[in-house]
């Protein structure tokens, strides 16, 4: 056996990603978990562990469940993330399906267009939305005119209060995360056999029935993958709610950031982060379970 075929190489190549994850995910996460059971102190770093038994302090977790601020922030985050996921699905599904139905050359161009926004800075795009939603922009004015034309005269407004609202947060999140929905959906729809559609048509189904009976059930793995890719980052989103959101409806990312930087309550911030992760692990495991079952039945 020569040096190239040693087992060690294989173990090294498989081990590297694990090593990476351990160093840059598991270890920091354990630090965060440890911090969450520490006590806040006016030192630097602003926490310490108790010198005697019981060493750990579970007060942060008690506050997490008892103080309405945290529960509310969690609820708002989950609802915003769920809303974003639903709108991304409603917008992304027809786009992904459309991608599978156009010619190969058009498909490549359209796929490029889906990814193209990533070429400009994310912050720049959020600021662009801020400009669009501002009171004097053509976008806001156009929507205002449409609104005034639709509703009775005494409901008329000078401009729509879009900025600094939950609406703005969801709008920008849908815009930002749409590609993460389209791409997995496209991948799963593209694999479907078009003769199955023909078989269903041939057996008496109209096109919309074919969609419900054949296309939709077979794209469930894509819907779940896209849904998780949108839902998880949306639930922890910090930048978008900070820039376009309303301070009275904080999302959980905002709470973590405020606790770390403004309140300098690192144990509390850590506890919130740990709770968020625990909440996200649930759906991910559900997905893995579903995926494993789907693989097993092939």
């Amino acid at each position: 056996m020569n040096w190239f075929h040693r087992r060690g190489w294989r173990d090294l190549i498989i081990g590297l990603p694990y090593l990476w994850l351990a160093l840059f995910f598991l270890v920091p996460f354990l630090i965060v978990v440890a911090m969450s059971v520490a006590t806040k102190t006016p030192t630097a770093p602003p926490f310490s562990f108790g010198g005697e038994h019981p060493w750990v302090n579970l007060e942060t977790y008690q506050r997490l469940v008892s103080e309405p601020l945290y529960l509310r922030a969690f609820l708002i985050s989950l609802m915003n993330a769920a809303g974003t996921t639903v709108f991304c699905l409603l917008l992304g599904y027809p786009m992904a399906l459309g991608l599978t139905r156009v010619s190969r050359s058009a498909r490549n161009i359209l796929l490029m267009l889906v990814i193209l926004p990533f070429w400009t800075s994310f912050l720049l795009r959020v600021y662009a939305w801020m400009g669009l939603m501002g009171k004097s922009s053509w976008f806001n004015q156009g929507l205002t005119d449409a609104w005034n034309w639709l509703v009775p005269a005494d409901w008329a407004v000078k401009s729509l209060p879009m900025m600094h609202s939950n609406f703005a947060v969801i709008l920008v999140m849908v815009y930002t995360y749409l590609p993460f929905m389209i791409l997995p959906l496209y991948a799963s729809l593209e694999r479907l056999d078009p003769t199955l559609d023909e078989a269903a048509l041939d057996l008496g189904s109209r096109p919309w029935q074919v969609f419900l009976d054949v296309t939709l059930p077979q794209s469930v793995p894509g819907i779940i993958a896209g849904g998780l890719l949108v839902f998880i980052p949306a639930a922890g989103e910090l930048v978008i709610p900070t820039l376009v959101g309303d301070a009275s409806t904080p999302m959980i990312g905002r709470v973590i950031s405020d606790q770390f930087s403004q309140a300098r309550d690192w144990p509390m911030a850590s506890a919130v982060a740990v709770a968020l992760l625990a909440l996200m692990v649930g759906p991910t495991m559900l997905y893995s379970h579903y995926q494993a079952r789907a693989e097993g039945s092939k």
Binding site: A200, L201, D202
Partner: protein
């Protein structure tokens, strides 16, 4: 009374490419009709036009006298069995078979009965709750058939129904298909590239090439009386020679065959003396013998022989260098074959066995 299925001057073009050119066919009720041809001959396009997936560029398709123009696939009294079977992978065998029935005005109980009947017909009752990936290829083929038959179509289209099965299963399934067709009495239109499949299955065959129908007829007619060189060479093995008509008398035609270096007589055909024709001979119609028999005979040397058990194939070189294929049935057991390598033999054939084609 018009024919059950009438195809009148149907053409189909995809851009500059003409897939089907001016095809006219009629199929009787209860018939098994095959569209036979190589890939790209237009047979599948024609089938897809019958199913409603493609609209003809010109011509009409009538089913029981009703023009199918503009009738979408879901509204046609036609079902199709796809070459890939196209079973829904996320549904059980039962659900696949019952899929089309939800469009029928049936009660739940009636629908269940029909599915059970179909499962019974294709002998798959024990597999009812399996998914398509959990059953064998032959079973999948039967699910596809049951699914296509469940709504009791007037016309069943079968796209290469046996192509995905192995040889043993294919023979068995062939007879099963015929039996089921006979029992239900539905009209079959089968697309196939396999001439053996077409011959055994069909009442009539349309041989297609380059988007056109070359010949329509019963398997015997197509095999014994091909109308042109394409049909003659597509169906079965054949050796053909250029020839020239030298004389025509009532009942016989005399040809000069340069490759034989002599004249042969055949049955009378509609060619005048001097016409350039093709003489085509099927291997099994040639008799090999060591001594010269009376009638049409030509001498050659056995160049190659292949023993298949039930028969042997000989490749015989004539004095002109032309190669002829001949089949001989091995009737007696353990007896030396008619001829061996490098033997001088005589090839003879009956005037009625020779096929004379124009050009």
């Amino acid at each position: 009374m018009a024919e059950f299925l009438q195809i009148e001057g149907v053409s189909k073009s995809f851009g500059p490419f003409q897939a089907v050119r001016n095809v006219s066919l009629s199929v009787a009720k209860g018939e098994i009709f095959s569209l036979l041809g190589g890939s790209g001959c237009g047979k599948t396009t024609l089938l897809r036009m019958l199913a409603g997936f493609e609209e003809p560029s010109a011509g009409r398709i009538l089913i029981e006298g009703r023009d199918m123009a503009g009738v979408p696939p879901w509204a046609r009294p036609v079902h199709m069995m796809f070459q890939s079977y196209a079973l829904f992978p996320h549904m059980t065998v039962e659900a696949n078979i019952g899929y089309g029935l939800k469009h029928e005005p049936l009660s739940v109980a009636q629908r269940k009965d029909r599915v059970r009947e179909m499962l019974d017909l294709v002998q798959l009752t024990p597999m009812a709750t399996r998914k398509p990936h959990q059953i064998s290829g032959g079973q999948r083929q039967r699910v596809a058939l049951a699914r296509a038959l469940a709504r009791q179509p007037k016309l069943l289209l079968l796209d290469e129904p046996l192509a995905a099965l192995d040889k043993k299963l294919r023979e068995h399934t062939q007879f099963e298909l015929m039996e089921i067709q006979e029992r239900i009495g539905v009209t079959f239109v089968v697309v196939t590239h396999d001439q053996e499949e077409a011959m055994t299955l069909s009442d009539r065959i349309a041989v297609m090439d380059k988007g056109q129908v070359q010949q329509v007829g019963s398997p015997t007619e197509i095999y014994e009386y091909p109308v042109n060189r394409f049909v003659a060479s597509f169906i079965g093995a054949i050796t053909s020679f250029e020839a020239e008509v030298t004389a025509r008398a009532p009942g016989t035609l005399t040809l000069h065959v340069p490759a034989f270096g002599q004249e042969v007589t055949t049955r009378e055909a509609d060619f005048a003396p001097g016409a350039k024709v093709t003489l085509a001979l099927r291997p099994e119609k040639l008799v090999i013998s060591k001594t010269r028999p009376p009638g049409n005979a030509v001498q050659g040397v056995v160049k190659d022989l292949a023993y298949f058990g039930k028969d042997s194939l000989y490749r015989i070189t004539l004095a002109s260098g032309a190669l002829v294929q001949a089949h001989a049935v091995n009737q007696a057991r353990g007896v030396a074959m008619v001829a061996d390598w490098d033997d001088q033999v005589w090839l003879s054939f009956d005037p009625s066995a020779a096929i004379v084609l124009g050009g």
